[in-house]
Every structure is written in structure tokens, then in C-alpha cells.
């Protein structure tokens, strides 16, 4: 695994793409279009969207732990505003947040 091939680093702000999910994807709908911060890079793994259909999973996708603010994810969130949600997301679903 070469971390230099990963597009994002811890601390980067990223937005989850809003593409419709076609077939097997690991990105839950409730984070689509939301902005979070990269906590860490796990490494690169075979793409589940290919592996799920007998494909070779290449090219491998960097996988990140992304931190969201709960209040950004849910309308009328009433619990403590410092609450976070951590989600594992593959790089092909992330873009830089500007």
C-alpha cells in the first residue's frame, strides 16, 4: 500500500458524492452530499463494487475513516451538538470540499 497514491490525508475536508448508487456500494445514502473530515487512511483495498460481481477489485481504492457532525446529518438533531458519526468510505465516493 502506498499512502502517496491516496488523494486525501487526515484533516482534509471531504464531501460525499451524490451519485445514485448502482448495484453494490458501501456508501450509505444518509451521508451523500454531506461534508466531513478525514480521520485516517486505512490503506487501499479491492473495490467492493467490483468484487461483489466476481471482478478483480482493481484498481484498489483507498479507504478512509471520515468524521461527520451528527447535527449536519440529521434535520432537527436535538442531542449534544458535539456528537460525531464515523463512517468508513472509499475514495471513489469522496471529493474535496471547498
Amino acid at each position: 500500500m502506498t499512502s502517496e497514491s491516496a488523494r486525501f490525508s487526515p484533516g482534509d475536508q471531504v464531501r460525499v458524492r451524490t451519485d445514485p448508487s448502482q448495484g453494490h456500494v458501501r456508501t450509505p445514502t444518509y451521508v451523500k452530499g454531506k461534508t466531513g473530515v478525514v480521520e485516517k487512511l486505512y490503506g487501499s483495498f479491492g473495490n467492493p463494487e467490483s468484487l461483489a460481481y466476481g471482478g478483480d477489485g482493481l484498481p484498489k481504492q483507498p479507504l478512509y475513516l471520515v468524521r461527520f457532525e451528527q447535527k449536519d446529518l440529521w434535520p432537527d438533531y436535538r442531542a449534544p451538538s458535539r456528537d460525531k458519526l464515523l463512517v468508513d468510505l472509499y475514495e471513489n465516493w469522496l471529493e474535496p470540499a471547498t
Partner: protein
């Protein structure tokens, strides 16, 4: 359209069901079967997930966790040509007849 398995954020006023349940023998066997099929290269975790997610929504909702697993295993074994639906049905009927005796 959001897939049936993509649960997060669906409004629901019901309290979370926290009851534990001991797994039945067939559930433990299903778990073991999936591990074995994986070790033999006949099935991948990603394929199992995909097959579970492809279960028609109303049926998906009516099945328990391991029922979804075994339905997915059957779909994949037929898809990959390891078994035919006819062979599975025949064996299931045979086992049912044996149990009835």
C-alpha cells in the same frame, strides 16, 4: 431509489429491539457454511452482501438475518453453477420427507 438494506436515517418511532437471542443450530451452520465457501473461493463477502441486497424488498423485510444469508448463498451457488435450483429443491424435498418419517 434507496435500497431496502440502506437503513440509516429512516424515520421510525419504535424503540430499538435490544433482545438477545441464542443462535439456532441452522443459523450456526449457515455461518460456518459461508466461512467454508469463502475459504474454498466459492463465495466472497462482497458477493454475499450484494446477493442479500438484491432480495426483493418485501421479502427482505420478512426474512431474519441468517435467513437472508442462506437465501443469498443459494442465489450465489446457482449463479456460479455450483448447484442448480432443481438439485437444491430435490434435496430439500428429500430431507423434508426423511424428517416426516
Amino acid at each position: 431509489m434507496q435500497s431496502v438494506h440502506d437503513r440509516g436515517g429512516r424515520p421510525d418511532d419504535r424503540p430499538i429491539d435490544r433482545t438477545e437471542h441464542e443462535l439456532s443450530i441452522w443459523e450456526k451452520r449457515t455461518d460456518a457454511l459461508v466461512a467454508l465457501l469463502g475459504a474454498r473461493g466459492l463465495l466472497r463477502t462482497d458477493e454475499l452482501r450484494r446477493a442479500i441486497e438484491s432480495i426483493e424488498p418485501q421479502r427482505y423485510e420478512s426474512l431474519s438475518y441468517y435467513e437472508r444469508w442462506i437465501v443469498a448463498v443459494e442465489k450465489l451457488m446457482v449463479e456460479k453453477g455450483v448447484l442448480t435450483s432443481a438439485a437444491i429443491d430435490r434435496k430439500a424435498a428429500e430431507l423434508a420427507a426423511q424428517r416426516a418419517r
